[in-house]
């Protein structure tokens, strides 16, 4: 069976089965990792499915843990907090910086400067 044939089969199969994310796009992301040559079908499916589980996990975890309870809304800071507090999500801390108002940042810079002056 040619590769194209196989791809079509996978696409068709997955369209009618239980994946809600495009496997071709997942493959693209996987291939952008350095040194990745070939990815077999099972691996692609598992990664796609795992990604779904991950989204659910991250969303629910952040929502429950954060301000979602009061405001009913899952916000960016809920996600940033989850990344910092939960070990499983710590690989996300680099891309989920906590946001800070400019004036607070400048204030803390001033305080740092004062500390330096006092030394």
């Amino acid at each position: 069976m040619s590769e194209k044939n196989m791809e079509e089969k996978v696409e068709h199969a997955t369209n009618s089965k239980n994946v809600s994310l495009p496997m071709s796009r997942v493959r693209l992301i996987m291939k952008s990792s350095p040194d990745v040559s070939c990815i077999n079908q099972d691996a692609l499916f598992l990664t796609t499915k795992a990604t779904e589980l991950f989204v659910q996990h991250l969303a629910l975890s952040s929502y429950k843990n954060g301000s979602g309870k009061e405001t009913n809304t899952l916000s960016y800071s809920d996600l940033a907090n989850a990344a910092e507090e939960k070990e499983t999500f710590q690989f996300l801390t680099d891309i989920l910086p906590k946001k800070i108002l400019a004036r607070d940042y400048l204030k803390s810079l001033e305080e740092m400067k004062k500390d330096d002056d006092n030394l």
């Binding site: 089969k9 996978v10 199969a13 997955t14 009618s16 089965k17 239980n18 809600s20 994310l21 495009p22 796009r25 693209l28 992301i29 996987m30 952008s32 990792s33 350095p34 040194d35 990745v36 077999n40 079908q41 099972d42 691996a43 499916f45 598992l46 990664t47 499915k49 795992a50 990604t51 779904e52 589980l53 991950f54 989204v55 659910q56 996990h57 991250l58 969303a59 975890s61 429950k64 979602g68 009913n72 899952l74 916000s75 960016y76 809920d78 996600l79 910092e84 680099d94 891309i95 989920l96 910086p97 906590k98 946001k99 800070i100 108002l101 400019a102 940042y105 803390s108 740092m112 500390d115």
Partner: protein
């Protein structure tokens, strides 16, 4: 987290450094429109000659839908949260892939297979996904083999009864997370809406 004890340590200030190296910060504007996106992700496939790893995302609609189905029905999701999860997802995929790829190289193999992925999950702290994923994979393989229709697969031991079709809900496959944290038999929904009782529940709380 880092154990760096200098006074300029961002973690001591309670600020996390931005993801670009160099210790810059993400500043929030006064009227938080929440729309800070680092990349244009209309559809990153326009310029095919140049892809940075961070630029490739899964479609936000799909991601948002999965999120929506995961949280309680009355909950809402901020727009910047959706975009953010979209980025996290790409990060997750890369994270798993590079771990799996490394193992592959160590064993002098060229093709990443299912085992590598599952092993990577386990290693990286996602071992609670592994068992459900194996079941999903089983179903997927069955579906691939016999495309005429899905044959019910009894995946739990000792149940011995045939799976029956359940009513349509029209929803996307529900996750295995229970929002209220109660212990219950979790149904794994496939798009053919068959139930597989007895599937191990994932507790995400």
């Amino acid at each position: 987290m880092d154990g760096d004890s200098s006074t300029t340590d961002t973690t001591q200030l309670g600020i996390t450094g931005e993801y670009m190296t160099g210790g810059t910060y993400v500043l929030q504007t006064q009227d938080d429109d929440g729309d800070e996106s680092f990349n244009d992700h209309e559809d990153g496939n326009d310029s095919k000659d140049y892809f940075r790893e961070q630029d490739i995302y899964l479609p936000i609609a799909n991601v948002a839908r999965i999120m929506k189905n995961a949280i309680p029905q009355t909950g809402k999701i901020a727009k910047d949260a959706k975009e953010c999860v979209q980025e996290c997802v790409s990060e997750f995929i890369s994270f798993i892939t590079s771990e799996a790829s490394e193992r592959c190289h160590q064993e002098k193999r060229k093709t990443i297979n299912g085992e590598d992925i599952l092993f990577a999950m386990s290693t990286l702290g996602f071992d609670m996904y592994v068992e459900p994923l194996k079941l999903y994979l089983q179903k997927f393989r069955e579906a691939m083999k016999g495309e005429k229709g899905i044959n019910p697969v009894a995946v739990s031991e000792g149940l011995g009864e045939e799976l029956t079709d359940d009513s349509f809900t029209g929803q996307l496959p529900a996750g295995l997370i229970s929002a209220d944290g109660q212990q219950q038999n979790v149904m794994v929904y496939t798009t053919s809406y068959q139930q597989i009782p007895g599937v191990q529940q994932i507790q995400f709380s």
